[in-house]
Symmetry: C2
Subunit: 412 residues, 2 copies
């Protein structure tokens, strides 16, 4: 008989966003005339930049002609894109990353989900609470979770992030081998500044752990003291893998492209004490189980690094940044407490006293026609909050905020 | 200290095609004027069909306009494509597959590499010898290989395919839980007919094993008695997962799209005897670690199923089919023995007596300027053969065959 991977059965309930979708759909069925605005799932609404459209149109045409057709590309991504990344995302910030340390993929969800494969299945994993569910679920599937007890998996180290500490995690008491950090943070919208990251790099060096640094929202950073890359911190190449995505930066959620950086300096250990290059392990993983990101998509990503492309994506990002400001101001006017939104597309909103995250979700849906994401879906410490996103259109964002203010007045 | 997944270190040597590329590049460096023709890696050369180009150009334009922009798509693929697949690849052959059983991805290499994740890590894996290396390597990485001893991994069941048995594997003596079958076969170019597949489905039912049926080369089938899908065999939905690819069918090697079928009827067992839906497990895997195939690419794939698209890809396939015929006839004229090429883009060529696969590789490169793939790279039973592909242009294929004939005359 063929046995299944029973670690899959340890997974708790449905994927958060699937549950949000299900509840919203049930509501729409009962209220077919309801005019619903989503500030829930972190999906973009603005079209691709003209430079990206032009580059991809050209690439499609190339693929239709014998002389310019391209078959299999390198599993690691085309050198034209890896070089543009090294130059545009790192050298421009004084960070020296070699193109051979960059692996282009079809998105950061895949990379953050798959990277754990090159680590021992007994590795102890640490995550913040609240946290992006993929970090946890991909490790549970690989057997690093264990049973779900008291709101968490018994083998995962949860690092609580309390409002009193600016939603920043303290260093874990028991040394983990893999530490997931996300800055700007999903879901809280907070950031780790230079001092915070320096502390984490020192901790990783001292304990021999590896940091998975998710910088998917890097493009939203506006403050000077916030590193865009963990490699801006000295010594980080010895201890950190960084994940980047074009999803929010350039509206690529449906196009699918991202990359990760696995520095040559990063070594993992064998049980017998030999040192193995993480870059070589990941290269082998990708060459065996991945066949490269679409050529057409990679040409689109390359266009983001042109002067024209850069300007165009900044114009779009400004729309979302402004939405974030509108939401933040609106909920504060309504008397609620909120953080995030400054270096992030996410606003982390305290729900009115006496309500749970899901109760406030239902309230917003029913009284204001707004979909949010309940904070408790990101972990026990997310209880009492909801996440709002700034990715809708300016018009609908403004309408949503007005509706929210009105609905909240009624419960005061 | 962070420990690595030591199963990666059990992997033998470099990936076959990387080794071929390395040797070819070394030769070119020494002979900069050499005019090399590749019949090695299975990569296509003909451009995309006009219907595909048109559909993707339109999709790119859609993504550039607010009203038609699309963000995250379903992790399982868009329903427009899943329906086109159910209709065009299955219903048209009398097979009833529900769209919810179809999962669209960025290629069959990813799917065949990742599918093992939903199975127990103690599952015994059976592969044919010779075999496409990804099946073996992805299982070794997951810990199902064990040590490499006497030309094979100790925990993998190898099913030798001898010329005397038409390169068809016998049923394994020890019952495996996962059986990889590829028809039309890579690398031997042979096929499993209705009788063969019926036998495998019966065996899987009886022993409770699951068949991974790789039908990536299905479009090359010309003979009537050869099933295009394993689901043409009664009862196969209870025991088989099927993998399909647009890479060779429609020149998508650089575009990246494929799909797999995980029937609702297929159940895996837990150690305590419960039955779990393989479809639900794979769905959970994809929702957690994959974010859907690019919208643009899926529109391109959809166009393959239009009347126009179908005709266009058949015209391209005819070019490759004709190349296969030219190679097959040529090597036979040169006095060599070869099979495949009829239902497959691959020709499996016996090397001249007294030579090994790699010696003949060097001979063809040096004396005829031709790159092939040494059969021994596909497994011990591949020794004494090389694989030739029909994916080059008609002109270069003819030139290559003439050169081969000339070179072989000299050693007679």
């Amino acid at each position: 008989m063929a046995f299944c991977n029973e670690h899959f059965l340890e997974l708790q309930g449905a994927y958060l966003f699937a549950e949000v979708r299900k509840r919203a759909e049930a509501y729409k069925k009962q209220h077919p005339d309801a005019d619903i605005i989503s500030l829930g799932i972190g999906d973009v609404t603005q079209p691709l930049a003209p430079a990206v459209v032009e580059a991809m149109t050209k690439a499609v045409a190339e693929m239709g002609r014998m002389e310019t057709f391209r078959g299999y590309g390198p599993e690691q991504g085309y050198m034209f894109l890896r070089k543009a990344i090294a130059e545009g995302d790192f050298k421009s910030r004084g960070v020296d990353i070699d193109p051979s340390e960059i692996f282009v993929s079809d998105g950061a969800k895949c990379d953050t989900g798959n990277m754990q494969e090159i680590f021992s299945d007994t590795a102890i994993v640490a995550v913040t609470d609240p946290v992006y569910p993929v970090y946890v679920d991909s490790n549970v599937m690989a057997g690093r979770g264990g049973k779900f007890v008291n709101g968490g998996y018994e083998r995962i180290v949860y690092m609580p992030c309390y409002e009193e500490c600016d939603f920043k995690a303290s260093l874990p008491v028991h040394d983990p081998q893999i530490i997931y950090l996300c800055s700007p943070n999903n879901p809280t919208g907070t950031v780790l500044n230079r001092k915070d990251l320096t502390q984490w790099v020192r901790y990783a060096k001292q304990t021999g752990s590896v940091i998975f640094f998710d910088a998917a929202y890097e493009a939203f950073i506006t403050e000077d003291d916030v590193p865009h890359s963990i490699y801006e911190i000295e010594g980080a190449k010895d201890v950190a893998i960084e994940f980047r995505s074009y999803s929010k930066t350039a509206g690529f959620t449906g196009v699918r492209c991202g990359y990760c950086v696995v520095p040559h300096a990063l070594k993992l250990e064998t049980k017998s004490g030999e040192m193995v290059s993480a870059n070589e392990l990941w290269d082998r993983r990708q060459c065996t189980k991945f066949n490269g990101c679409s050529y057409i998509v990679q040409r689109g990503a390359e266009a983001i690094y042109t002067e024209e492309g850069r300007k165009q994506i900044q114009a779009t990002l400004d729309i979302y940044r402004n939405n974030a400001r509108v939401i933040l101001e609106g909920v504060k006017e309504a008397g609620l407490h909120a953080i995030g939104g400054t270096n992030s597309p996410y606003i982390w909103l305290s729900v009115p006293e006496g309500m749970t995250s899901w109760q406030f979700f239902d309230f917003l849906l029913d009284k204001a026609g707004i979909i949010c994401t309940p904070g408790s879906g990101f972990g026990p410490c997310g209880e009492g909050y909801v996440r709002l996103t700034s990715f809708n259109t300016p018009e609908l964002t403004r309408t949503a905020v007005e509706r929210m203010k009105k609905a909240l007045k009624e419960i005061k």
